[in-house]
Symmetry: C2
Amino acid sequence: MQNPVLRKRYRVFKWEKKMTQKQAMTIYEENRRKLLAFRYVNFVTEWDHETEAPAGAIPLEATQQGVLAEMEYRLQTDPVFLEAVELLYEDRNQLDSILAHELEEQHRQIDEMRKIPMEEYTAFREHLAHTYPVYVKAKQQNDYASFAPYLERIITYNRNLTKYLEQPGKTGYDVLLDRFEPGFLKRDYDGFFDLLRRELVPFAAKINASKLEGDFSFGKKTYPREEQIRFCEYLRDVMCVDRNHSVMRESEHPFTTGFGTDDIRITNHYYEDNLPSAIFSAIHESGHGLYMAQVDPTLNDTLSWDGASMAMHESQSRFYENMIGRSPLFWKVHYPKLKETFPEQLRDVPQETFIRYINQSGYSFIRTEADELTYPLHIMLRYEVEKAVVEEGLRAEDIPAFWNERFRDYFGMTPPTDTLGVLQDVHWATGEFGYFPTYALGSAYAAQIYAAMERDLDVEKALASGTTREINEWLREHIHRYGASKYPKEILKLATGEEFDPGYYVDYLVHKFTEVYGV
Amino acid sequence: MQNPVLRKRYRVFKWEKKMTQKQAMTIYEENRRKLLAFRYVNFVTEWDHETEAPAGAIPLEATQQGVLAEMEYRLQTDPVFLEAVELLYEDRNQLDSILAHELEEQHRQIDEMRKIPMEEYTAFREHLAHTYPVYVKAKQQNDYASFAPYLERIITYNRNLTKYLEQPGKTGYDVLLDRFEPGFLKRDYDGFFDLLRRELVPFAAKINASKLEGDFSFGKKTYPREEQIRFCEYLRDVMCVDRNHSVMRESEHPFTTGFGTDDIRITNHYYEDNLPSAIFSAIHESGHGLYMAQVDPTLNDTLSWDGASMAMHESQSRFYENMIGRSPLFWKVHYPKLKETFPEQLRDVPQETFIRYINQSGYSFIRTEADELTYPLHIMLRYEVEKAVVEEGLRAEDIPAFWNERFRDYFGMTPPTDTLGVLQDVHWATGEFGYFPTYALGSAYAAQIYAAMERDLDVEKALASGTTREINEWLREHIHRYGASKYPKEILKLATGEEFDPGYYVDYLVHKFTEVYGV
């Protein structure tokens, strides 16, 4: 339904032919209030579906979510609103920098919406709906051939996107990359992955050929759910995730969501035969949560709350999980508490053995099961596939051969089935090309950020205090508080004083695994 | 924002001056879809606040809920929608009976909205916001005098309402009563409460003077939370509340909510020193849940899903809780399971002792602590206060004296403080006059329904099967399936073949407590 105030204003514009900046601002703010309310609705309904709603309720509620999405779409595409954004965008240099950035983002989205033909977009969404069940079945039955024609059409759409959205200095695969990590293009990723290929492929092979010393039989013992929850709640306090503004619940796959700095929701999953799983999920998800909670609260009323990008978000979760959570410095302080929680299971396990255990490396066919060292190689492979698809005309039917060959080059083994190879991830089936590379970028950001932090802060001393408070504070000051009010490259530069440099990441990995494996 | 389709249509009407019925129907259905989506939003966000959201998140989210409420209000008051309702309402006899009833309800609400001056309504809502904290403090500090002027203004508003909304045959207090239980007016309630006053006041006095035989010391033992949950989940299955379409969680105060027949959410609260509390909450709330789940599913897409009225809903929860859940027939089947769950605590407790224990009666100052027999007397007292306030000019400052005198008449004791008297309930402080009486009506409906059911069904045999399935089916057929597509009086007549007759209720109570107490 129409807002009578806006209707009146709209008529005024029709007479005058041009909004004033003040009118545009009123309209923009009014619409933003409503868009934020819909963000809240999406946040709560998705949380509800993941954690609470009975399974049988989904179809009826999907209908309501469809109606709400329609209303939200009308808000986003309301012609008066679009006119206001255009006008404010033109004058953005007169506005404060936070609003100017937000308008740039809004403008980018509107521009994209205008350049992609509506019928093509709609047909693509429909195609995706049909593709998903085909993909699921193909993965179950190791039947890539049945999926290939569906994927081919997704590829065509993505290739078309690159034509619709290209600009001087941003062509081909750049266009897709830029949509997921603004400002990171082929030249950035090429440099990054070239380094990984050169340094990490041979290093990982060396590590994989070595044997890690220690009796790791404790890993096969039973760790009761209730005690795991108790220890993970302890970790939440160690990380100072404020209980008044956060909850930790359970779901099939751990995730973090939130609405503004005051409502952070983390889930975990507890396997009684796998202690590290819940521990590192708790730390990883709390890292996402801290990022959300430490955004400058004045951004709660804007569209710039939450992290700056996919990779920047992932950098924070990986930072806590890997750099902090798997470090000897951390377990020196907290291993006694873990032993106290599982006295029986860990009785004869020295701290060093536990630390080696949680830092094992080994080749895996499956990305999501990979360790810290080999993980980026899985991403590198996907980057190469996507680039070849978008820029070199690689066809869907030829991806498995490409995949398996590169996999052998990097891991020295060939996936025995496509289910363990090209079919393992859902991303391409849901239309997402350009997303994967951000997964590797996050860890590289984290290593560079860690190096900058160490110039300001004695991390060992900070951790010895028993909590991560000082580390949180450093991250709040240098990364978190900006939320999404700046682009990731800008924040990285402000935080570290340097441009993106993947050398920190490679150094970190080589140093760490050399030490763990004693090679 | 405006729906372009509607905008176009709206212009058509402006030219033609009158909508066609077909146009009105399109507009009505379009708006109803959106209103249903907002119902879903309200359902999920309220559930989330009661069960999941961290405490510190409330203020930021209240802002979003305010924006959403504003959007919903605009939908409800959109002039084009109102015009469509008017037109369809006039022609309702040509429509199917479900839609006709829905339009009657919509029309009633719109009519009410038009007759209450907007400024007065807004000022009243604002007054309520100021009143609430004053009430809470007054109750805490037993300081009625500080609350009285606030209540006086609420009374004035309610008296004014009766003038704005009166109609031939519906005057004074009738107007307020009708808003909560459509069709039930003073003449109905007067007859009902006169009977209770005449029969139950002396009977309750007799019961209160008797002593119940048995060793009830088991009631003071500890009943661990986990086992209580297990037994309540068992009860959920006994009552056939489908697990695929319902959840049972925890909250401070038990409640039931839902969205359509496919999403029923029940909460409970477990006190380790009070076993009956969780058991009867589980049965009571499952009764509400079954009503929601057994509405004809075609009503999911209308505004007529959910129960027919406050009292009709309460009749179903009380039916299961009291008539079924506290009966010897029920525990003959399920007491062994309870003993199995708490073997230690219930070792020496015979079934008859347990049944007497859960059917004790005793006077209490507090309504929410009252037992099945004395509960309606608490409501009768509130009915008399409200009637005197609305029709006989009783002033806020004089309510405590009125209350205490009647309390002595009915319970033979005087509340030592106003906190234990007139200040105990929040209802009047939140503006609700006319709501309380429905609380007593529900049990009376239940007794009449039970009598009708017994004419069709051997309840003892039905319960002996181990579940309430046959009982559920009878209620589905005779009550539940109608949802809110008919008025409660109509449903009661269809289900029982008779007009409302409170004699069934008095007979049921007298018979039951005579038997339990052996008097």
